[in-house]
Amino acid sequence: MTRSEVAYDLAVVGAGPAGLAAAGVAARAGLRVALLDAGARVGGQYFRQPPDGFHATRPGALHHGYARFVRLRDGLGDTDVLLGHRVWAIEPAVGGGFAVHCLKGGRERAATVAATRLLIATGAHDRVLPFPGWDLPGVMTAGGAQALLKGNLVVAGRRVVVAGTGPFLLPVATSLAAAGARVVGVFEAGGRFTLAPRALTRPGKAAEALGYGRLLARHRVPYKGGRAVVAAHGDGELTHVTVARVDAEWRPYQGGHETIRCDTLAVGYGFTPQLDLVAQLGCEIGADAAGVPAARVDRHMRTSAPGVYAAGETTGVGGADLAALEGEIAGRAVVADARGVPAAAHPAAVRTEARRRRLAAFADALLRSYPVRDGWTSWLRDDTLICRCEEVPYGRVKEARDLGAADARSIKLLARPGMGWCQGRICGEAVARLAGEAPGPPRRPIAQPVRLGDLAAMNERTSDDDA
């Protein structure tokens, strides 16, 4: 395997707003920085860009705050941007620092990047809940539909239903509509997103919410609260969904069902931070305001593991603004720590810290306003798949519980949900909730599938020495 000779002062994993901001700050301060991302372009999930081959003249049309993205991208300085790098494991290196093990490019060739410090800014992925028919082709995550559009300029479908919970449903619906899809409805299981509680109102966000309202109206997209897609139907592909009126606990009301014809359902119940790498590094993991696991950091974005920082959704779901700000703070802390000076001494520290507190409070309020309610379990039938990969239906999960599986791990051991390809990234939270537990931090020593041949070629000498 190729060993990189370059030892960076900082390796940033994830080129979303947090990673871009951090890399820029550190590189401009003179550190040698590598910015790694699995994607083909920088921007992450939020600022996902179409390929150059499209020659988009208005690339910002699909993004809020595109100008900021351009600033972040153009401010990377001398950062080495390593795209198409999927990090599958990070280990402390002999003699200090870290070895970041990647798979490079479409053919997934092994590569290792060495760095003294690490920033994990791996973002989040959609949180989904199982319901009957959710594995029919045509059912996608809301973020997936958005990625297809922003990253490939492909509209997920012609007649689209958007459903789930949280304000993210709105940009998904409006951008799909603007791109030509007929969005037949946005169904929010909680309450409609209007404005955040008064004390937390941020002018920018309020305008954003009003903007979505206007756009939905322009495209005649109905936006209804207290409604959930409780089943998807179709013979081999999605043809319609059942939308139910649900109570505050998300239990469907009797008779409150309607059937809606659609070829695509974009569904999302919030986000789950990607914590595989911080967990591998032994960083302490807590929970965000929604009870979802997230990396614990101090006010300089240092995790509990020396030399490891985290920013953006890795530390809790809070949106692009907060992520970029956290990246900036982390970048400054890395620079300060590398030079052995106090991180708080930076002139911008007080201002950014206050701003971060404000944004974080707003994000937490949002998370608390859009929790997942237990009533979703009443949508399940015995034959509803819980685990898509291993095709484990709800009935088998119940059987495992009857056999004495008292927790999520035992359910997994007996019935195999979470044992497949995605390693529980999709079904993990549902299984935890079915076991009556809060979702726990992941334990995935292999964060991306890696060829045994590549694994075998690794550290050939060092590991044979200790035989």
């Binding site: 280990e91 004495g404 195999r416 390809w421 292999i446 599938p449 060829r451 041949g453 075998a456």
Partner: protein, 386 residues
């Protein structure tokens, strides 16, 4: 009041409960976590005779192998635990190793192990994808596979006389005039006629609750799991048996604290390939060691070069309950009456669970055990016991 309380709902505790209840005893199994939540849920399901030197452990294994077959027949499918008597193929890297292996096989036969010598030319007939260049091997038809978590869960539930209490930690033992009369748990006392310590790698702590010492320590093992393989044209799995190199035999009996690996490679019913397991004495440290995973991968690819292009998607580790002399502890504790031990099976607790359960049930009912239990005596580690 149950006749017996079993501490631990792992494979061994489940087997103890099964056989005791089959003899008509009422049993309560308590576990602080879940059924199969300990080492049983973090190991593999090899039921091996091939990896054992002739001696008391092999005697246990030969009988246990037969018991597994009976249990599987009784359970049937569905409702079973994926018992698969696929056989094990041990291959030798050199003529010298082959001689040692063949010699071992000859001695194992005297203990009731069936063995077939396999020449270098015949290896491909057993395993078409095996790397060329091995000197030959020995095939062990008795070696089998079970799904240990399902097996533990199902055996515990087999008889109505067994009550399972999960989420219940044993925090003390009830004693009356030097005799154990039950357990104290976070959810109240459970008086019982006898207590069986099947607390796995934590059995030393359970024994300490009765004031006796059992030197049981953890020996860490990592396992690699691959992506599910695409079905093959011939409908047969890529790897047909349990396959490992003869180096394994020397590793198992090793006292070394350092890392040892001799990967056993096999295909599972879920379509994945399991590669395990390493052996290290590092306490209860769960930190993943990439060099260990790399070594396992190297050995697997060495056996089956086609695996180089197959991806690993998961790795996990578990802690084998390890005794200094590599033998389990099975029997009544002569130091405390009413207390029985069924623990310390190291890397063979799945395979040896049925025989352990059967022997404990014999003792509990006052019947004569099938095998001499002297080598497994609980007090064999204390100086005074000699």
């Amino acid at each position: 009041m149950p006749d017996v309380v079993v501490i631990g709902a792992g494979m061994v505790g489940a087997a103890c409960a099964y056989y005791a209840a089959r003899e008509g005893l009422s049993v309560t199994v308590v576990d602080r976590a879940s059924v199969a939540g300990g080492t049983t849920g973090s190991g593999e399901g090899n039921v091996l005779v091939s990896d054992k030197e002739p001696g008391p452990e092999l005697d246990l294994a030969v009988l246990s192998c037969r018991l597994w077959t009976e249990l599987a027949a009784e359970a049937g499918e569905p409702g079973g635990f994926e018992h698969e008597p696929k056989g094990g193929l041990v291959v030798a890297e050199s003529d010298e190793v082959l001689r040692a292996l063949t010699e071992l096989a000859g001695r194992q036969e005297k203990s009731g192990v069936a063995t077939h010598r396999v020449t270098a030319d015949e290896l491909a007939g057993y395993e078409p994808h095996l790397a060329p260049g091995f000197a030959g091997g020995v095939f062990y038809p008795q070696d089998a596979q079970v799904q240990p978590m399902l097996a533990a869960a199902r055996l515990v539930r087999r008889w109505p006389g067994v009550e399972l209490r999960t989420g219940t930690e044993v925090t003390g033992l009830l004693t009356e005039r030097g005799r154990v009369t039950g357990v104290r748990t976070g959810a109240g006392d459970i008086p019982a006629g006898a207590v069986v310590n099947a607390a796995g790698v934590w059995a030393g702590e359970a024994a300490a609750l009765a004031g006796v010492e059992l030197p049981i320590m953890p020996r860490r093992g990592f396992i690699l799991v691959t992506e599910p393989l695409t079905a093959r044209a011939d409908g047969r799995p890529l790897v047909r048996h349990k396959v490992y190199t003869a180096a394994y035999v020397t590793n198992v009996a090793s006292d070394s604290e350092g890392l040892e690996t001799s990967a056993v490679v096999e295909a599972t019913q879920a379509g994945t390939v399991l590669i395990g397991a390493s052996r290290e004495r590092v306490g209860f440290d769960r930190t993943v060691s990439l060099p260990v995973l790399a070594r396992l991968a190297r050995q697997a690819v060495g056996l089956f070069p086609v695996l180089a292009d197959v991806r690993a998607i998961r790795a996990y580790c578990g802690f084998r309950p390890y005794c200094p002399d590599h033998l389990p502890v099975i029997g009544a504790d002569p130091r405390v009456s009413g207390l029985y031990h069924a623990c310390g099976h190291e890397g063979a607790g799945i395979g040896l669970a049925p025989v352990t359960g059967l022997l404990i049930a014999r003792l509990l009912t006052g019947a004569v055990p099938e095998l001499d239990l002297a080598p497994f005596r609980p007090d064999r580690f204390t100086g005074a016991a000699a």
